[in-house]
């Protein structure tokens, strides 16, 4: 295998810069105010923020097209690199007001975040099972650390351990599956595997099994039923910024890889999988639609809500058309904005301690109309109510699915589950507006947090009303999967 450095940089430019940024952050931490808590933390956080924003801005200069042995920089990869960078920036915003709860490791948090983002960007370019696995491990191992970040809280440790066990399990499935795929096709490269798959009338059992195992491994990442069990506990136990990052970033990792796998690697052969994916989608929707109802803890609640969104993403994956791929890209972006805003609100309202009981948002409309408005917007967007972006995301998914007559039942079922999920999102609104506050303390919102909340809210509004720019970007991103 010939590796050309300049070509490698053309593909992995973002990753190289992220790696560099991570190293700079480590060195900064060492050099600035050794032994003190806040000095290096501020420096590292500022630097990480600046670096991530700069790389994010730079990614818009990049032109898609470079392709090599280990990865590809098609418009799909580029779309997701931007997505992951934006997620990382938003996570830093969620982490800032959380920071003073950390008794140690304040400076390391942004550093870890940069490295896991690196892994995610790498994954979005993967066109080879080796790159895929390396990237996935980089992401997961760093996320273990970030989940168990507060050793003094038993819940955090619990979350870390559960996450490690489940992560190892899913990695085991993946490796097992990859081995079978390699054994039957003789290659790690997606393009060659795809050629083998589509040259045959029916797939050999070994290959089928291998692909299924890979699918299972990715199901864990996405949070699809029956691989969702870790989600509520880990979401609840992990520090809130980590949860925010997990809920968007880690889910998107599952999305990226599943899309590559289903749309590019399997190609037309994926049509045989429609039933499997549709069944998974229905189960996931059912779990997400009903599981969230009895929850009383905000992060668990958002965990189940995330499962229901995974269900909608699976509906789109089962559809297997270019329109549905575009719908997925649109969907994850709207999900990013709504979810990040919700988690930041949770950080702010549970500022005094780490109790995230739903009581915390009771009477929020009286305590802080601004936070109430943001949370309302993000809940309604997640529920899929116009004029918010989440509505159009669901609309795109369902519109694409209806085109396939075999999936009309699934669309009807998703709509039914959308009604049940509307119920629990409205219950949140009930707490915000119709309950008396349990807490009465002053809610301090820093300028940065206010800006981030405002941005998320405006994005949810703007993409809900004028969808065209994001639709265009999503369609461009999705189109490269089908070449």
């Amino acid at each position: 295998m010939n590796i050309d450095t300049s070509q490698l940089f053309a593909i992995f430019g973002v990753e190289s810069l992220l790696g560099l940024l991570g190293l700079v952050l480590i060195v900064t931490d060492l050099l600035v105010g050794k032994g003190r808590l806040t000095g290096p933390a501020t420096a590292v956080r500022t630097l990480a923020f600046g670096g991530l924003v700069a790389i994010f801005a730079w990614s818009f200069v990049l032109e898609p097209g470079a392709e090599g042995a280990l990865g590809t920089l098609d418009s799909f990869a580029l779309f997701f690199k931007r997505f992951f960078l934006a997620t990382a920036v938003a996570t830093l915003g969620v982490a800032a007001p959380y920071e003073d709860r950390l008794s140690a490791g304040r400076a390391e948090f942004p550093t870890l975040l940069v490295f896991t983002t690196l892994g995610m960007c790498l994954l979005s370019s993967a066109n080879d099972f080796v790159t895929l696995f390396v990237g996935l491990e980089l992401v997961t191992v760093v996320l273990f650390l970030m989940a168990a970040y507060r050793p003094q809280l038993p819940r955090s440790i619990e979350a870390g351990i559960k996450f490690v066990v489940i992560g190892a399990l899913s990695a085991a499935f993946m490796v097992y599956g990859i081995a079978f795929v390699y054994g039957t096709t003789g290659s790690f490269e997606f393009s060659q595997i795809s050629a083998v798959i589509n040259a045959q009338e029916s797939l050999p059992a070994g290959l089928k099994f291998g692909l299924l195992m890979v699918l299972v491994g990715l199901g864990f990442k996405l949070g699809a039923v029956p691989f969702h069990i870790w989600i509520p506990d880990v979401y609840q136990g992990a520090p809130t910024p980590t949860t925010a990052f997990l809920s968007v970033g880690s889910k998107a990792v599952g999305v990226v890889l599943l899309m590559r796998l289903v749309y590019t690697v399997m190609g037309p052969a994926a049509a045989q999988w429609t039933t499997v994916l549709a069944g998974l989608a229905a189960l996931t929707l059912l779990m997400g639609g009903l599981g969230a109802i009895p929850q009383t803890e905000l992060k668990r609640f958002l965990g189940y809500s995330g499962i229901s969104h995974a269900g909608f993403l699976l509906v789109a994956l089962a559809t297997h058309s270019e329109a549905s791929a575009g719908a997925i890209l649109f969907y994850v972006v709207t999900y990013l904005f709504a979810n990040m805003a919700a988690f930041l609100v949770i950080v702010i309202v549970s500022r005094t301690d780490d109790d995230n009981h739903m009581d915390r948002i009771n009477g929020l409309a009286n305590r802080s109309p601004f936070l109430a408005l943001v949370l309302t917007t993000s809940m309604l967007s997640l529920a899929g109510v116009p004029p918010f972006a989440g509505f159009f995301a669901k609309f795109m998914v369902l519109r694409a699915a209806v085109a396939e007559p075999a999936l009309v039942w699934l669309v009807a079922f998703s709509l039914l589950m959308a009604v049940t999920s509307l119920y629990y999102y409205l219950c949140i609104l009930k707490r915000i507006y119709m309950r008396d506050a349990v807490d009465t303390g002053f809610l301090e919102i820093s300028g940065g947090a206010r800006l981030l909340l405002l941005l998320c809210m405006l994005a949810v509004f703007a993409f809900g009303i004028y969808q065209q720019p994001l639709v265009q970007a999503a369609e461009a991103g999705a189109s490269s999967l089908f070449r």
């Binding site: 329109a323 116009p386 409205l426």
Partner: protein
Amino acid sequence: MNDLLAQHVLLLLVLIPVVVTTALFFIPADRHSVHRWLSVSGAGLTGLLAIWLFFNYDQVTRGFQFMVEHEWVPSLGIQFKLGVDGVSVAMVMLTSIVYVAGALVSMGVKKRVKDFYILLSALVAGVFGVFVSLDLFFFYFFYELAVVPMYLLIGYWGSTNREYATMKLTLYLTAGAFVALLGLLLVYFSGITETPTFDLTKILAAVDAGGGLDFAQQKFLFPLLLIGFATIAPMWPLHTWSPGGHAAAPSAASMMHAGVLMKLGSYAIIRIALPILPEGAVYWLPWVAVLCSFNIIYGGYVALNQKDMKFVIGYSSSSHMGYVLLGVASMTVLGMDGAVFLMFAHGVMTALAFALIGFFYDQTHTRMLDDLGGLLHQVPFIGILFVMMAMASLGLPGFANFASELMVIVGSWERYPIATILAVFGLVIGATYLLRTVRAAFQGPMDPRWENLQDAKGPLQRAPFLLLVGVLMLFGIYPLPLVELISTGIEPVVETLLAAEASMGG
């Protein structure tokens, strides 16, 4: 000036409430009078635009007029397209009348005035949007936009059992909307138009050119649209969200809801379901006639046994909507004209009823017929208007309701004689429960408990009531202009239906 207005009138109609909503966000929460007057002036402006539309809609050329069109998401076949025909103009007039009256009545709202008006104007933006949209995507978009603000309006400012009622209402209507959405998406992909589009005018043109769906498909798709839209209409047995929701809602919200939102359902049936799927309609409409007889009789009987005045009016509304649906099912110009005219008349009448009840409820904090009595002594103005409202509702000549109900009954006689007889009987039930309500609440000896009740005083307090009753009498005495206007929109629909029936018979 007129040309400029003609190009932008529909856009303005949707944008005025949106601008009011947005502007309210930036006005400090304690400036109540600013919030109130901003909303009232916004409502007044939409009223002026509606009057302008009424006088400038060209009844000779007919069809959709004052079109606005912008590309929106071309790859999905979505465009922002507005236009009105005779039916929509009537509905726009209704909406703006109720909006003005609702904004005026809400002057009495004391808690969170700002939020109240924000939600109210967002809701109105949705309603106007539905009535002027000619794109199925935006139709649905605005429809949902009109439903969801109601959740908070009832949940926070409401009364009796409000949290239950508002959750039920929101979920019910959303579920109904989803059924309709599924139907709309299936129509979208059904291949009526060459490339899938949500553009209603293109779909209708394709159907007119003979490109309609075959009967089997229509038979399957029509019930989806019918059930979806009839949920909000509300057609028996899908009506159960409505009385509780009306009863729990604050005055302006009940006015908007019973007065305007319920009309979205029958409007959508006339605008979308009938012309796109005429054969399916011909097949299923007799069933609608059966179900709406239940509306009329069952709703009437339930109203007869209510103790809460808002529940009386709530059930009476679902009873009256039975007449609307009967008129729609009649497939005659007279009957359908009557249905749309009744949507208008009932909207104004029921808004008046909820405004009046809300007015004294704010002081008595009870609407139970057993607790009330003799209110005419303390609140003669409100009382007299309530009697007038009751007379209008039970179909006394001189009010718009009489004319419209008569049209429905005459129009549907030929096709559904049994349902029509039941409908006439329903009028008797209506008279009974309304007179019973008037007697229990307003007549009888003076009750010392209500000694300090304040009547509506001054032009500002009286204005909304006088506006509504004035409209009812105006179109009751001289209905012709409005009926002619409605007829321009109805005639093409009836032609399509009759052609479909003829082709099915042959």
